[in-house]
Symmetry: C2
Subunit: 162 residues, 2 copies
Protein backbone atom coordinates (compact mmCIF):
# COMPACT_ATOMS: atom_id res chain seq x y z
CA UNK A 1 0.00 0.00 0.00
CA UNK A 2 2.94 2.41 0.45
CA UNK A 3 3.57 3.16 -3.19
CA UNK A 4 6.01 6.02 -2.70
CA UNK A 5 3.15 8.52 -2.84
CA UNK A 6 3.58 11.65 -0.73
CA UNK A 7 1.75 11.49 2.59
CA UNK A 8 -1.57 13.37 2.47
CA UNK A 9 -1.47 16.44 4.72
CA UNK A 10 -4.50 15.14 6.65
CA UNK A 11 -2.38 12.15 7.76
CA UNK A 12 0.56 14.16 9.12
CA UNK A 13 -0.47 13.90 12.77
CA UNK A 14 -0.68 10.10 12.35
CA UNK A 15 2.69 9.77 10.56
CA UNK A 16 4.44 8.15 13.57
CA UNK A 17 2.11 5.14 13.15
CA UNK A 18 3.18 4.38 9.58
CA UNK A 19 5.19 1.20 9.26
CA UNK A 20 5.14 -2.43 10.33
CA UNK A 21 5.23 -3.24 14.03
CA UNK A 22 5.86 -6.62 15.68
CA UNK A 23 5.93 -7.92 19.21
CA UNK A 24 4.29 -9.95 21.96
CA UNK A 25 0.87 -9.38 23.46
CA UNK A 26 -1.34 -10.81 26.14
CA UNK A 27 -5.06 -11.06 26.68
CA UNK A 28 -7.41 -11.64 29.57
CA UNK A 29 -11.16 -11.50 30.06
CA UNK A 30 -13.43 -12.63 32.88
CA UNK A 31 -15.03 -15.37 30.74
CA UNK A 32 -11.83 -17.00 29.37
CA UNK A 33 -8.31 -18.12 30.35
CA UNK A 34 -5.43 -15.68 29.95
CA UNK A 35 -3.46 -16.05 26.71
CA UNK A 36 -0.38 -14.71 24.93
CA UNK A 37 0.32 -14.07 21.26
CA UNK A 38 2.65 -12.49 18.73
CA UNK A 39 1.27 -9.53 16.80
CA UNK A 40 2.10 -7.87 13.49
CA UNK A 41 0.44 -4.50 12.91
CA UNK A 42 0.88 -2.39 9.77
CA UNK A 43 -0.23 1.16 8.96
CA UNK A 44 0.27 2.23 5.34
CA UNK A 45 -0.91 4.95 2.99
CA UNK A 46 -1.39 5.60 -0.72
CA UNK A 47 -1.30 9.42 -0.63
CA UNK A 48 -4.99 9.73 0.22
CA UNK A 49 -6.43 11.11 3.48
CA UNK A 50 -6.51 7.80 5.37
CA UNK A 51 -4.19 5.09 6.65
CA UNK A 52 -4.86 1.40 5.95
CA UNK A 53 -4.47 -0.85 8.99
CA UNK A 54 -3.79 -4.61 8.93
CA UNK A 55 -3.35 -6.65 12.07
CA UNK A 56 -2.60 -10.34 12.52
CA UNK A 57 -1.77 -12.35 15.60
CA UNK A 58 -0.37 -15.85 15.85
CA UNK A 59 0.57 -18.43 18.43
CA UNK A 60 4.20 -17.90 19.42
CA UNK A 61 4.80 -21.63 19.84
CA UNK A 62 3.02 -23.15 16.86
CA UNK A 63 2.92 -20.15 14.49
CA UNK A 64 -0.81 -20.88 13.98
CA UNK A 65 -2.87 -17.80 13.02
CA UNK A 66 -5.12 -16.47 15.79
CA UNK A 67 -6.94 -13.15 15.30
CA UNK A 68 -6.88 -10.66 12.41
CA UNK A 69 -8.45 -7.33 11.61
CA UNK A 70 -8.32 -4.87 8.74
CA UNK A 71 -9.58 -1.35 8.27
CA UNK A 72 -8.86 2.33 7.82
CA UNK A 73 -8.00 5.29 10.05
CA UNK A 74 -9.60 8.52 8.78
CA UNK A 75 -8.11 11.66 10.36
CA UNK A 76 -10.47 14.64 10.57
CA UNK A 77 -9.90 18.29 11.50
CA UNK A 78 -9.14 19.22 15.13
CA UNK A 79 -7.33 15.96 15.97
CA UNK A 80 -10.47 13.88 15.58
CA UNK A 81 -10.02 10.48 13.95
CA UNK A 82 -12.43 7.83 12.70
CA UNK A 83 -11.63 4.12 12.46
CA UNK A 84 -13.53 1.43 10.53
CA UNK A 85 -12.57 -2.22 11.07
CA UNK A 86 -13.66 -5.63 9.80
CA UNK A 87 -12.77 -8.90 11.52
CA UNK A 88 -12.97 -12.57 10.48
CA UNK A 89 -15.11 -13.15 13.58
CA UNK A 90 -17.92 -11.42 11.64
CA UNK A 91 -17.62 -8.16 13.57
CA UNK A 92 -17.32 -4.62 12.19
CA UNK A 93 -16.46 -1.61 14.34
CA UNK A 94 -16.94 2.13 13.77
CA UNK A 95 -14.86 4.22 16.14
CA UNK A 96 -14.62 7.90 16.90
CA UNK A 97 -11.41 9.03 18.56
CA UNK A 98 -8.92 11.73 19.36
CA UNK A 99 -5.25 12.20 18.56
CA UNK A 100 -2.98 13.75 21.21
CA UNK A 101 0.74 14.31 21.65
CA UNK A 102 2.63 14.71 24.87
CA UNK A 103 6.33 14.22 25.70
CA UNK A 104 7.17 12.56 22.34
CA UNK A 105 4.24 10.15 22.66
CA UNK A 106 1.45 10.10 20.10
CA UNK A 107 -1.79 8.71 21.54
CA UNK A 108 -4.85 7.68 19.53
CA UNK A 109 -7.80 7.00 21.82
CA UNK A 110 -10.82 5.41 20.16
CA UNK A 111 -14.30 4.31 21.23
CA UNK A 112 -16.92 2.53 19.20
CA UNK A 113 -19.92 4.45 18.00
CA UNK A 114 -21.22 1.22 16.43
CA UNK A 115 -20.28 -2.42 16.76
CA UNK A 116 -22.21 -4.74 14.47
CA UNK A 117 -21.94 -8.45 13.74
CA UNK A 118 -23.16 -11.01 11.27
CA UNK A 119 -25.93 -13.39 12.38
CA UNK A 120 -23.39 -15.96 13.60
CA UNK A 121 -20.95 -13.52 15.26
CA UNK A 122 -20.63 -13.33 19.03
CA UNK A 123 -22.31 -10.07 20.09
CA UNK A 124 -20.00 -7.27 21.29
CA UNK A 125 -21.59 -4.13 22.72
CA UNK A 126 -18.66 -1.70 23.01
CA UNK A 127 -14.92 -1.52 22.24
CA UNK A 128 -12.28 0.96 23.29
CA UNK A 129 -8.84 0.97 21.63
CA UNK A 130 -5.70 2.94 22.37
CA UNK A 131 -2.49 3.22 20.35
CA UNK A 132 0.54 4.90 21.90
CA UNK A 133 3.65 5.50 19.79
CA UNK A 134 6.91 6.61 21.36
CA UNK A 135 9.74 6.47 18.85
CA UNK A 136 10.05 2.85 17.71
CA UNK A 137 7.66 1.42 20.31
CA UNK A 138 3.91 1.08 19.83
CA UNK A 139 1.67 -0.03 22.69
CA UNK A 140 -1.74 -1.28 21.57
CA UNK A 141 -4.52 -1.81 24.09
CA UNK A 142 -8.13 -2.88 23.74
CA UNK A 143 -11.09 -2.92 26.11
CA UNK A 144 -14.29 -4.79 25.28
CA UNK A 145 -17.85 -5.09 26.60
CA UNK A 146 -19.22 -8.52 25.60
CA UNK A 147 -20.64 -11.73 27.06
CA UNK A 148 -22.54 -9.69 29.66
CA UNK A 149 -19.36 -8.02 30.94
CA UNK A 150 -18.94 -4.21 31.20
CA UNK A 151 -16.13 -2.48 29.27
CA UNK A 152 -13.12 -4.49 30.52
CA UNK A 153 -9.42 -4.44 29.62
CA UNK A 154 -8.86 -7.31 27.17
CA UNK A 155 -5.60 -6.97 25.19
CA UNK A 156 -2.21 -5.29 25.48
CA UNK A 157 0.69 -5.67 23.04
CA UNK A 158 4.02 -3.88 23.04
CA UNK A 159 5.38 -3.72 19.50
CA UNK A 160 8.65 -2.60 17.93
CA UNK A 161 9.02 -0.96 14.55
CA UNK A 162 10.23 -3.58 12.05
Amino acid sequence: MSTGAELHSACETLAPLIGTWRGPGGGHYPTIDDFVYLEELTFSHVGKPFLAMTQRTRNGDTDAPLHAEVGYLRPQPNRVVELVLAQPTGVVEIHLGRISEENDTLTVDLRTERVEGTRTAKPISEVRRRLEVTGNTLVSEMWMAAMGQPLTHHLRAELTRA
Copy 2:
Protein backbone atom coordinates in the same frame (compact mmCIF):
# COMPACT_ATOMS: atom_id res chain seq x y z
CA MET B 1 -2.15 -14.58 3.87
CA SER B 2 -1.85 -17.89 1.97
CA THR B 3 0.75 -19.53 4.18
CA GLY B 4 0.60 -22.98 2.67
CA ALA B 5 -1.99 -24.03 5.25
CA GLU B 6 -4.54 -26.58 4.10
CA LEU B 7 -7.86 -25.04 3.08
CA HIS B 8 -10.46 -25.32 5.84
CA SER B 9 -13.29 -27.67 4.81
CA ALA B 10 -15.83 -24.86 5.36
CA CYS B 11 -14.15 -22.91 2.54
CA GLU B 12 -14.25 -25.68 -0.06
CA THR B 13 -17.30 -24.32 -1.89
CA LEU B 14 -15.51 -20.95 -2.19
CA ALA B 15 -12.18 -22.42 -3.37
CA PRO B 16 -12.60 -21.15 -6.98
CA LEU B 17 -12.37 -17.57 -5.63
CA ILE B 18 -8.93 -18.03 -4.06
CA GLY B 19 -6.20 -16.11 -5.85
CA THR B 20 -5.46 -12.67 -7.24
CA TRP B 21 -7.67 -11.29 -10.00
CA ARG B 22 -7.04 -8.27 -12.20
CA GLY B 23 -8.91 -6.46 -14.93
CA PRO B 24 -10.93 -3.46 -16.06
CA GLY B 25 -14.17 -2.22 -14.58
CA GLY B 26 -16.72 0.48 -15.14
CA GLY B 27 -19.12 2.38 -12.95
CA HIS B 28 -22.24 4.43 -13.38
CA TYR B 29 -24.81 5.99 -11.06
CA PRO B 30 -27.62 8.50 -11.61
CA THR B 31 -25.85 11.17 -9.55
CA ILE B 32 -22.36 11.01 -11.15
CA ASP B 33 -20.57 10.71 -14.50
CA ASP B 34 -19.67 7.24 -15.81
CA PHE B 35 -16.12 6.13 -15.02
CA VAL B 36 -13.68 3.29 -15.71
CA TYR B 37 -10.97 1.75 -13.55
CA LEU B 38 -8.52 -1.11 -13.17
CA GLU B 39 -9.21 -3.52 -10.31
CA GLU B 40 -7.12 -5.96 -8.30
CA LEU B 41 -9.08 -8.36 -6.10
CA THR B 42 -7.52 -11.02 -3.86
CA PHE B 43 -9.08 -13.83 -1.85
CA SER B 44 -6.72 -15.67 0.48
CA HIS B 45 -6.89 -18.04 3.44
CA VAL B 46 -4.83 -19.12 6.45
CA GLY B 47 -6.45 -22.52 7.05
CA LYS B 48 -9.31 -21.08 9.11
CA PRO B 49 -13.02 -21.05 8.15
CA PHE B 50 -12.97 -17.75 6.29
CA LEU B 51 -11.40 -16.07 3.26
CA ALA B 52 -9.73 -12.67 3.51
CA MET B 53 -10.69 -10.26 0.72
CA THR B 54 -8.67 -7.24 -0.42
CA GLN B 55 -9.75 -5.01 -3.28
CA ARG B 56 -8.08 -1.97 -4.81
CA THR B 57 -8.91 0.04 -7.89
CA ARG B 58 -6.81 2.58 -9.70
CA ASN B 59 -6.98 4.98 -12.61
CA GLY B 60 -5.83 3.14 -15.75
CA ASP B 61 -4.19 6.29 -17.18
CA THR B 62 -2.48 7.83 -14.14
CA ASP B 63 -2.14 4.76 -11.90
CA ALA B 64 -3.62 6.88 -9.05
CA PRO B 65 -5.42 4.84 -6.39
CA LEU B 66 -9.21 5.12 -6.45
CA HIS B 67 -11.33 2.88 -4.19
CA ALA B 68 -10.32 0.11 -1.79
CA GLU B 69 -12.07 -2.35 0.49
CA VAL B 70 -11.02 -5.13 2.84
CA GLY B 71 -12.90 -7.81 4.71
CA TYR B 72 -13.73 -11.44 5.22
CA LEU B 73 -16.05 -14.02 3.64
CA ARG B 74 -17.43 -16.43 6.25
CA PRO B 75 -19.03 -19.55 4.70
CA GLN B 76 -21.77 -21.15 6.77
CA PRO B 77 -23.66 -24.46 6.41
CA ASN B 78 -26.17 -24.92 3.57
CA ARG B 79 -24.32 -22.64 1.11
CA VAL B 80 -24.98 -19.55 3.18
CA VAL B 81 -22.14 -17.02 3.36
CA GLU B 82 -21.53 -13.90 5.40
CA LEU B 83 -19.32 -10.99 4.31
CA VAL B 84 -17.92 -8.16 6.45
CA LEU B 85 -16.22 -5.23 4.72
CA ALA B 86 -14.50 -1.98 5.72
CA GLN B 87 -13.82 0.85 3.30
CA PRO B 88 -11.66 4.00 3.45
CA THR B 89 -14.80 6.01 2.72
CA GLY B 90 -15.79 5.28 6.34
CA VAL B 91 -18.35 2.64 5.43
CA VAL B 92 -18.70 -0.88 6.83
CA GLU B 93 -20.99 -3.51 5.32
CA ILE B 94 -22.44 -6.72 6.75
CA HIS B 95 -23.80 -9.01 4.06
CA LEU B 96 -25.76 -12.23 4.06
CA GLY B 97 -25.55 -14.28 0.89
CA ARG B 98 -25.84 -17.57 -0.91
CA ILE B 99 -23.36 -19.69 -2.84
CA SER B 100 -24.56 -21.52 -5.95
CA GLU B 101 -22.99 -23.53 -8.77
CA GLU B 102 -24.34 -24.08 -12.23
CA ASN B 103 -22.59 -25.06 -15.47
CA ASP B 104 -19.06 -24.58 -14.10
CA THR B 105 -19.94 -21.13 -12.71
CA LEU B 106 -19.72 -20.39 -8.99
CA THR B 107 -22.00 -17.51 -7.98
CA VAL B 108 -21.91 -15.69 -4.64
CA ASP B 109 -24.92 -13.40 -4.27
CA LEU B 110 -24.81 -11.02 -1.31
CA ARG B 111 -27.10 -8.36 0.19
CA THR B 112 -26.41 -6.07 3.09
CA GLU B 113 -28.11 -6.71 6.38
CA ARG B 114 -26.39 -3.61 7.77
CA VAL B 115 -24.54 -0.72 6.18
CA GLU B 116 -23.06 1.73 8.66
CA GLY B 117 -20.82 4.75 8.28
CA THR B 118 -18.71 7.08 10.35
CA ARG B 119 -20.07 10.57 11.07
CA THR B 120 -18.37 12.01 7.99
CA ALA B 121 -19.17 9.12 5.58
CA LYS B 122 -21.71 9.52 2.80
CA PRO B 123 -24.78 7.56 3.88
CA ILE B 124 -25.50 4.33 1.96
CA SER B 125 -28.73 2.48 2.68
CA GLU B 126 -28.28 -0.86 0.89
CA VAL B 127 -25.70 -2.74 -1.17
CA ARG B 128 -25.97 -5.87 -3.29
CA ARG B 129 -22.85 -7.65 -4.54
CA ARG B 130 -22.39 -10.59 -6.89
CA LEU B 131 -19.25 -12.56 -7.69
CA GLU B 132 -19.31 -15.04 -10.58
CA VAL B 133 -16.31 -17.28 -11.19
CA THR B 134 -16.02 -19.35 -14.36
CA GLY B 135 -12.56 -20.89 -14.63
CA ASN B 136 -10.06 -18.05 -14.76
CA THR B 137 -12.65 -15.27 -15.13
CA LEU B 138 -14.31 -13.47 -12.25
CA VAL B 139 -17.14 -11.01 -12.83
CA SER B 140 -17.78 -8.68 -9.91
CA GLU B 141 -20.92 -6.54 -9.79
CA MET B 142 -22.29 -4.11 -7.22
CA TRP B 143 -25.62 -2.38 -6.77
CA MET B 144 -26.10 0.46 -4.32
CA ALA B 145 -28.92 2.49 -2.79
CA ALA B 146 -27.55 5.90 -1.78
CA MET B 147 -28.00 9.64 -2.39
CA GLY B 148 -31.79 9.14 -2.47
CA GLN B 149 -31.58 6.54 -5.25
CA PRO B 150 -33.14 3.05 -5.01
CA LEU B 151 -30.91 -0.04 -5.33
CA THR B 152 -29.22 0.69 -8.68
CA HIS B 153 -26.49 -1.09 -10.66
CA HIS B 154 -23.24 0.75 -9.90
CA LEU B 155 -20.13 -1.31 -10.76
CA ARG B 156 -19.09 -4.17 -13.03
CA ALA B 157 -15.56 -5.53 -13.46
CA GLU B 158 -14.41 -8.52 -15.45
CA LEU B 159 -11.21 -9.90 -13.94
CA THR B 160 -8.70 -12.57 -14.97
CA ARG B 161 -6.79 -14.82 -12.59
CA ALA B 162 -3.23 -13.47 -12.21
